[in-house]
Symmetry: C2
Subunit: 242 residues, 2 copies
């Protein structure tokens, strides 16, 4: 059966409305967003406006527009007179993000169980297969991305509402958390819990689906090596001087 949806790792604002009314700024947003999700831009990386402008052949105006949007989505932070940096979520942020995800995804799972159909399930099984394949090949980043896509695809069963949008943002931030605190092999939803969840969804058992999702998210969170990093992104200079 042909899949009739493709779930790229979607930026939170991708559909929310043009960034500054500009398609070009949105493309820049998109490029930076993807780079962060792929960990080509690691947490803490500085994003210099003029450099970005040169890369994308655009003026700082558009770059700033994109950076602002990324800041609102908690992908980068903008510090006044200092510039934009890829966000480095603290442990507290990570807790908050996963707590929020549990609330939102449990509710969406319940709802999705009521609404789903065979085609949707097939789509999700396809994503699952892709994810497994990526894991088997050791393509960790791709697996993480596909894992996120799975969660978003479940949400999208309920339509593109506010909760789904919000979840997109939380999933993006989760990628940053995993980039910072994720252990090499685990943390990529590798427990085949997605499969069990999908079974519950297919059976239309919303309660079970919600419970499995909650547990799944707990597992991901617990697999993080949260102690291994200091809470705040460290600026060596500040630390040594203070």
């Amino acid at each position: 059966m042909q899949r009739f949806t493709t779930f790229e790792t979607a930026a939170p604002t991708a559909r929310a409305g043009a960034i500054g009314g500009s398609a070009r700024a949105e493309a820049i947003y998109r490029s930076i967003f993807d780079a962060v999700m792929d960990q080509r831009l690691p947490p803490g990386a500085k994003l210099v406006e003029e450099q970005l402008g040169a890369i994308f052949e655009a003026s700082r105006t558009l770059v700033r527009s994109a950076l602002q949007a990324l800041a609102q989505d908690h992908i980068v932070t903008i510090e006044r007179h200092r510039g934009a940096f890829v966000c480095a979520p603290t442990v507290a942020d990570a807790e908050d993000i996963f707590f929020s995800r549990k609330v939102v995804e449990a509710a969406l799972a319940r709802e999705a169980a009521r609404r789903t159909d065979a085609a949707r399930i097939a789509d999700l099984r396809g994503l699952l297969a892709d994810e497994r394949e990526a894991l088997r090949r050791g393509e960790r980043r791709k697996a993480i991305r596909l894992s996120g896509d799975f969660h978003i695809a479940v949400a999208a069963i309920c339509g593109e509402g506010a909760l789904t949008q919000f979840l997109r943002s939380l999933v993006s931030r989760s990628s940053l958390v995993i980039a910072l605190y994720g252990r090499s092999a685990a943390s990529a939803c590798g427990h085949d819990e997605h499969a069990a969840f999908l079974d519950a969804l297919e059976a239309g058992d919303g309660e079970r689906a919600a419970r499995l999702m909650t547990e799944h998210l707990d597992h991901i969170f617990r697999d993080l090596a949260l102690a291994e990093r200091s809470e705040a992104p460290v600026d060596i200079r500040l630390v040594l001087r203070a």
Copy 2:
């Protein structure tokens, strides 16, 4: 007892980080936001950049920055080459917003019941009294705002996490919904359901609090006159030409 928090109607992004790294842009955001919440700027109103610039004595650069942020928060929509307009949520939007609120606020209520203390409860009772007073005096707008503040204050018991931020955004959008579809007297949480909810919270009964909150939001939603407006904001010219 002195209240130690003041809950102005907070903009979703107010704390999330400087808008474009600029305090001035944030002030503009704030002014427009407040005007929309107060219904001084009605849904559909056009926001011309240069006009705003003149009003705030700022260049279009800063105005655009603020408008972009407002767009990301669904307070205004930006249409390419046409400009920014105060959002006019459709009936579908309204459903989505209140569904999301039920999910988020039920969870936050449960959590708040575990964390709350006497001081917080006193704060909330204060807000409740203000709201009642405003209603008694017939100050409808103020009552609506205070009602929103109440909901946010409950969320804030759980801290300023992602869910609370998200709720801020939903409450803002609810104000727009009420502006469009609210009936004169009702819709302002006037049922004293806040008081009952607060009792549950004080008793530490999270389940009851969550249930009361859900029902309360259902009531607000049902009190809207959702049929009385066309779904999409109408542009007369387009309608007549097409």
